[in-house]
């Protein structure tokens, strides 16, 4: 089709090749910005004054490490402030980069051979993938020792196939119920201590007629459905305890198992009870169309009484909302469905994974796993909790942080990591979201929901 009107040639003289432009550009850019590790031949300098406490990390002045994470400004600003003093004392620059495409971009960069020195990974499943790629590096012994201050279950979440890779940096608590202490007081309601109390209270509120007891929203863009997975996880952990939960995560207990079916029924009797939800928004189906960020707003106008949502929901309350035990908004620990399960705490966390073992990278890794750094971060701003036993709880100034920290470090608590973050991504970050959303939006039957999720489990 092109030759038809092809012009006749003019001459056989050749054209000069001109892509030299690009070659020049390439050559010019070959001078690089990489921070080659210094041949630490010189003596380690002695740090004095305020810097003395960083002596253990000294000797890497003039180096740079890169860090990649999903935490964005303004939240990441506090993170950078927390290690600013460390950086200026030791001379190790930490170049931080946040992205909300972190999960996919990290895989692109690692397989592309462009891995950052550190990644802050919030999903143990993603950590396992990174280890599988062969690029993740085991931590130095000091980091392993520092990690010992977290409760032992955390080590398993930072490990892949029994080998410890990543120390936890932060923890968050998901087993919270947000409510309005003011409204509770005015109506004479008590914070429930057991699941039976909670159900009785819900019933009482529903019968009183002033707004429905629960509100919820599972909308979250392409991740729509994740808050519903939390509800199911609370029900499984609170009904059967840690062992069954672990087997469920490992798919020894399937979604179709009578235990999980019964947990789904528990959720149905709670968050799909037409008399109880969806305060301020409409019927049960409106849960699927309400975004999780908006879900709690009706509590402020007394159209709804309670919302089950993680500690990080705190950021969603409008400015000026007084949060505290006697304020506009506070939270209580969601009680266990089965009183025999001791103090179940479902939560999440972030793990610092290294992709290099240069000495300055290891120094930063050691520092960020220490309770000194955790305390420094707690001091910078609220909305951040460490489950490190070495952090003084009096440093927490925010009541929700304090509540979370107490529950997370409670030695009697049964802490378990968010199951959907532990399951294979095809289930925990895809099919489970989809099926549970359908369950809420279309009222699909429970056995069908369970069967769909089981079918998506990779063989």
């Amino acid at each position: 089709m092109i030759q038809k009107s092809r012009p006749a040639p003019l001459s056989r003289r050749r054209l000069l090749a001109v892509p030299a432009v690009l070659a020049l550009v390439l050559a010019a850019a070959c001078s690089n910005s990489s921070s080659g590790s210094k041949g630490s031949s010189g003596a380690v300098p002695t740090l004095t004054g305020d810097c003395a406490k960083y002596q253990a990390y000294a000797g890497h002045s003039g180096t740079k490490v890169t860090m990649y994470a999903s935490i964005l400004s303004p939240e990441s600003d506090s993170l950078e402030k927390s290690w600013a003093e460390f950086s200026s004392c030791t001379g190790i620059k930490i170049s931080y980069e946040g992205s909300n495409d972190f999960e996919s971009q990290l895989q692109v960069r690692v397989t592309g051979g462009n891995a950052p020195d550190f990644a802050i990974i919030p999903q143990p499943g993603l950590l396992a993938q990174m280890v599988k790629s062969g690029k993740a590096v085991k931590p130095p012994t000091q980091t392993v020792a520092n990690e010992g201050k977290w409760s032992p279950v955390w080590k398993t979440y930072g490990s892949v196939n029994g080998t410890f890779y990543a120390a936890p940096m932060s923890a968050n608590m998901k087993s919270l119920v947000w409510y309005s202490p003011k409204a509770f007081k005015a109506s004479g309601y008590q914070v429930p201590q057991t699941w039976a109390d909670l159900m009785a209270l819900s019933d009482r509120i529903a019968k009183a007629g002033g707004g429905k007891p629960w509100c919820g929203g599972i909308g979250s863009g392409t991740a729509t459905g994740w808050p519903a997975t939390d509800w199911l996880e609370e029900a499984v952990l609170g009904s059967y305890g840690g062992d069954v939960y672990d087997q469920w995560v490992g798919h020894q207990v399937k979604f179709g198992d009578p235990k999980i079916i019964s947990a789904l029924q528990t959720v149905a009797g709670w968050m799909q009870n037409p008399a109880w939800v969806n305060g301020g928004f409409g019927d049960v189906k409106s849960i699927a169309t309400t975004t999780f960020q908006d879900a709690g707003t009706p509590i402020l106008s007394n159209k709804c009484w309670m919302l089950q949502q993680a500690s990080f929901y705190q950021a969603q309350w409008p400015k000026g909302t007084k949060i505290g035990p006697d304020g506009d908004i506070f939270a209580f620990h969601l009680p266990a469905v089965n009183p025999a399960v001791a103090n179940p705490v479902e939560g999440g966390g972030e793990f610092l994974t290294a992709f290099s073992n240069r000495p300055e990278v290891q120094a930063v890794q050691n520092y960020l796993s220490s309770s000194d750094w955790a305390s420094s971060r707690v001091k910078v701003s609220t909305g951040w909790v460490s489950a490190n036993q070495g952090v003084d709880k009096s440093l927490y100034t925010d009541p929700i942080d304090k509540l979370s920290a107490e529950s997370l470090t409670d030695p009697t608590a049964t802490f378990r990591f968010d199951a959907s973050d532990l399951m294979p991504a095809a289930v925990g970050a895809a099919q489970e979201w989809k099926s549970l959303t359908k369950w809420f939006a279309e009222g699909q039957a429970i056995p069908k929901v369970a069967a769909d999720i089981d079918a998506a489990w990779p063989q």
Binding site: L15, A29, S76
Partner: protein
């Protein structure tokens, strides 16, 4: 392109000199381009009738409403946006500029100037990433059209075929090439280039992805230039470079301009390539990357997005309006033959 593909084009124009023989910027007023056939005339008059005008105005207004809503939203305080629609702006015109102020001047930790460094990055990425493919493909198109050498048809078809390779497929291999170099056994074909944190990988990637389409479009345009012109130039002793520079380039300005707009807008709005090759640091990341992060980890600062989106619109609008008179004409000229 082929006549067979256009059954409605009337008498086959195979032998007739192409109607676009003078596509200089001055070539103007569409109605004059030859005796229009009756069908065409009917279509033309129906387009300029009062009914059509009303229709066009209605569509334009309809299409502008969302953009206007965006502008109105960007000027309203957060609480107002959360509680009522943007049309309330007519009833309660409480406008603020604080969203723009935050976006423009407040950055994260250690970043001053808000959006400014990213704006500079965007320009530093978009301009070279538009110029490189334009220069290379114009030369390639000329060579493929007017310089006869063995296998030129094959080369052209390979370039044409390369358009079907999806960009996403090439991202990781390209990244591996940039960060690890290329090796054949123990022989290093291309050394590992340490380009992290610079614009170079983004330029290269955009240039590579743009070349097939650019070469194809410009080839079709350049190959239709009248042969007499070229022959006259050769008789006068002009070299290929002279012909390219003095005859071909001025004549294909519309095609170049339209492709420049096309490519510039594409690069300016691109997020994927920038995210993969430039990363998200203020040293190299363009505005799109910054906009994607603007609302924070939990979407707490969503009110900034409308203002950010509006600021990122300004430069493409300037480019479009300064070059738009070439746009439609140039693109059609390159893509449709005969």
């Amino acid at each position: 392109m082929s006549d067979a593909a256009m059954p409605t084009s009337g008498p086959t124009p195979k032998a007739q000199p192409t109607p676009k023989t003078q596509p200089t910027p001055k070539a103007s007023s569409a109605p004059k381009t030859g005796p229009a056939r009756p069908g065409v005339k009917a279509v033309r008059s129906s387009f300029s009738g009062p009914l059509a005008s009303v229709f066009v105005i209605a569509v334009t207004v309809l299409w502008t409403i969302p953009t206007f809503g965006l502008l109105a939203t960007s000027l309203r305080p957060k609480e107002a946006v959360a509680s009522s629609g943007w049309w309330e702006v007519f009833v309660h015109p409480d406008m603020i500029l604080s969203n723009y102020h935050t976006v423009l001047f407040e950055g994260g930790f250690g970043v001053s100037g808000g959006l400014m460094p990213y704006l500079v990055n965007s320009l530093a990425i978009s301009v070279p990433a538009t110029v490189f493919p334009l220069v290379l493909s114009a030369m390639a198109a000329y060579a493929l059209a007017w310089v006869r050498f063995k296998g030129s048809d094959t080369v052209f078809f390979v370039i044409f075929a390369l358009q079907v390779v999806p960009l996403q497929m090439a991202l990781i291999p390209l990244l591996q090439l940039f960060s690890g170099g290329a090796h054949l056994g123990s022989v290093t074909v291309l050394p590992a280039l340490d380009l992290g944190g610079t614009y170079v990988p983004v330029w290269l990637a955009h240039t590579m992805f743009a070349l097939p389409l650019a070469t194809f479009l410009l080839h079709n345009f350049i190959s239709q230039l009248p042969r007499d012109l070229m022959e006259a130039a050769v008789v006068d002793g002009a070299s290929h470079f002279k012909i390219f520079r003095s005859i071909v380039l001025p004549l294909c300005t519309p095609a170049l301009a339209s492709f420049a707009i096309f490519e510039f807008l594409w690069v300016w709005n691109d997020l994927l390539v920038a995210l993969t090759f430039a990363g998200g640091t203020p040293e190299a990341a363009p505005m799109t990357v910054r906009l994607a992060q603007l609302s924070g980890s939990f979407g707490g600062r969503w009110e900034l997005l409308t203002a950010g989106a509006f600021l990122s619109l300004i430069v493409p609008l300037i480019v479009f309006f300064s070059l738009q008179r070439y746009f439609v004409r140039g693109l059609l000229a390159g893509s449709v033959k005969g």
